[in-house]
């Protein structure tokens, strides 16, 4: 518990996390309101709960950057050494950081998700935006869980690379280039895509949703169901974090 307090103090005693949280929410909700406001009346039937979440990646990236910085700035400014002096076994301190930062990302994820859905409802009250089925609930409230796990992923990369610019570039290249380009490989591309972590994580949110032109991309024939997808994504993120923690324990601080 005390270590959770420590990480909470660390996180909120600088300003950048606040800016990241505001930016993530404003970006996602702002884009969704634009999307809802410009939807033509004849396309209104397409404005379903999952369509309101098409912009969640923007906020996700911002929160991943925040999570990475929560780790790498500690290396940059040497406070990681003060942390390890206070907690010489290291692991508890790193796990506490993961819990605090990932929880915050999860909360921000839920805020952006509910905010996006809510603003779409306000702008287009006639659209079919009511949450009735389990799938529709997952389409909206599932976003927070993906934020939470992606945050763990980002901290793991931060722990491994220990350098802000390097870690963030790696994450962005992976997220926007590799996950999008690997499926293009002939013959095996599709099978690779089915196991790319963020694609699978996204599948947790969108699985079962109806495909429509402006909505988030839904990939057919994913081998795992929504909850299986979430478990797989969690295993990858936590696995990477375990690697990062082992490295942080072994390396000279």
């Amino acid at each position: 518990m005390t270590l959770l307090t420590v990480e909470r103090i660390k996180l909120f005693s600088t300003r950048s996390p606040w800016w990241c949280m505001i930016l993530a929410t404003a970006l996602t909700v702002g884009l969704t309101s634009l999307f809802a406001a410009t939807t033509r009346t004849k396309d209104l039937a397409d404005l379903t709960p999952d369509a309101t979440q098409f912009a969640y990646n923007f906020g996700l990236v911002v929160m991943m950057v925040m999570s990475t910085l929560a780790v790498t700035t500690e290396y940059r400014f040497g406070t990681i050494r003060s942390t390890f002096l206070a907690v010489p076994t290291r692991t508890p301190a790193l796990v506490a950081k993961a819990v605090v930062v990932a929880s915050l990302s999860g909360i921000v994820g839920e805020i952006t998700a509910v905010g996006s859905w809510g603003i779409a409802r306000l702008i287009q009250p006639d659209a079919p935006l009511a949450l009735n089925t389990a799938q529709e609930y997952r389409n909206v409230f599932g976003v927070g869980l993906v934020y939470l796990l992606a945050s763990v992923f980002a901290m793991a990369v931060g722990l491994i690379v220990r350098q802000s610019a390097g870690a963030i570039v790696i994450e962005l290249i992976y997220l926007f280039l590799l996950e999008n380009l690997l499926p293009v490989i002939p013959r095996i591309g599709d099978s690779i895509q089915h196991w790319l972590p963020f694609t699978v994580g996204d599948n947790f949110i969108v699985a079962g949703a109806v495909r429509h032109s402006d909505g988030p991309p839904v990939i057919d024939n994913m081998p795992l169901g929504p909850w299986g997808s979430l478990l797989y994504f969690a295993a990858v993120c936590i696995g990477l974090f375990v690697i990062g923690t082992v490295l942080a324990r072994r390396r000279d601080a």
Binding site: L3, V6, S13, G78, L85, A86, P88
Partner: protein, 344 residues
Amino acid sequence: MIEAQGLTKRYGRTVAVNDLSFTVAPGKVTGFLGPNGAGKSTTMRMILGLDNPSAGTVRINGRRYAELHHPLRQVGALLDAKWVHPNRSARSHLRWIAASNRIPVKRVDEVLEVVGLTSVAGKRAGGFSLGMSQRLGIATALLGDPGVLLFDEPVNGLDPEGILWIRQFMHRLADEGRTVFVSSHLLSEMALTAQDLVVIGRGRLIAQTSTQEFIDNASESAVRVRGPEMERLHGLLTGQGLTVRDVPAGADGPAALLVPNASTEQIGELAGTVGLVLHELAAQRGSLEQAFIQLTGQDVEYQAGAGAPAGAAAAGGGTGVAVPPPAGEAPSGVPLNVPGGDAR
């Protein structure tokens, strides 16, 4: 109480710390002395469990740092005053560190008061001057009221007032019965601060002694004597079997004689018995810097190119190589306050 045994740290093929064993006792200030790059910081980091030793162990009060429960309550350290997030206030910085070892929050304000930072506690630490950062680092070290304190080059870059403050502060901590271990590359500073010394060069232990003993052994004492009848004086002293060197007139004053390993009493009485007039009779001590260079001369990692005196360079037969003093000279025959060539 800090005990290091066979402490070794290798980075690839470079040996930063080599089989280092020493103990640091409570109740006094122990200086950790060595030239830049001698391995002082690496050793301190190993003591604190930040770096893993390649071999050997180091224990604090009989236990490894990693085994200490709430270590900040037993060991306080200032390794680098810049280990602070620049956008975090001094109080927030201390607050999270205190929380990590269940140190009550009121202790934060206490240590800020002790180091005199209360008025800037809410300001961002990135805007602090070096002296203020150094004080914040000391506040961090004191937070858990620990019995063992480590400071790495605490006076680096401080103004004289700050240096005096830190020196007195460390004496006070030692007087309270704490173990105080302070590193420095300046012997003159350590001579004023530390009662004991652990001296290293190139990662190896050179000496562990009291500061007084180290200075006595390392620097030669001599008597400078001058009078109107220099010839007679010279004859008288050599007649007594004393070594006498001629010091030509220079920056130190007019021409005089230098008598190593003699006391002013001895020479004054000698001159008195034959009725010789003296104009000057003074004890001289080699500078601490010279003594330090003498002892660690071979162990400086980054040597300057052509620093060797003419005589020594000829003996070494090479250029650009700093030649250590001949073995026979060490450690008591340091040429001191004598211009180069006619030292011997």
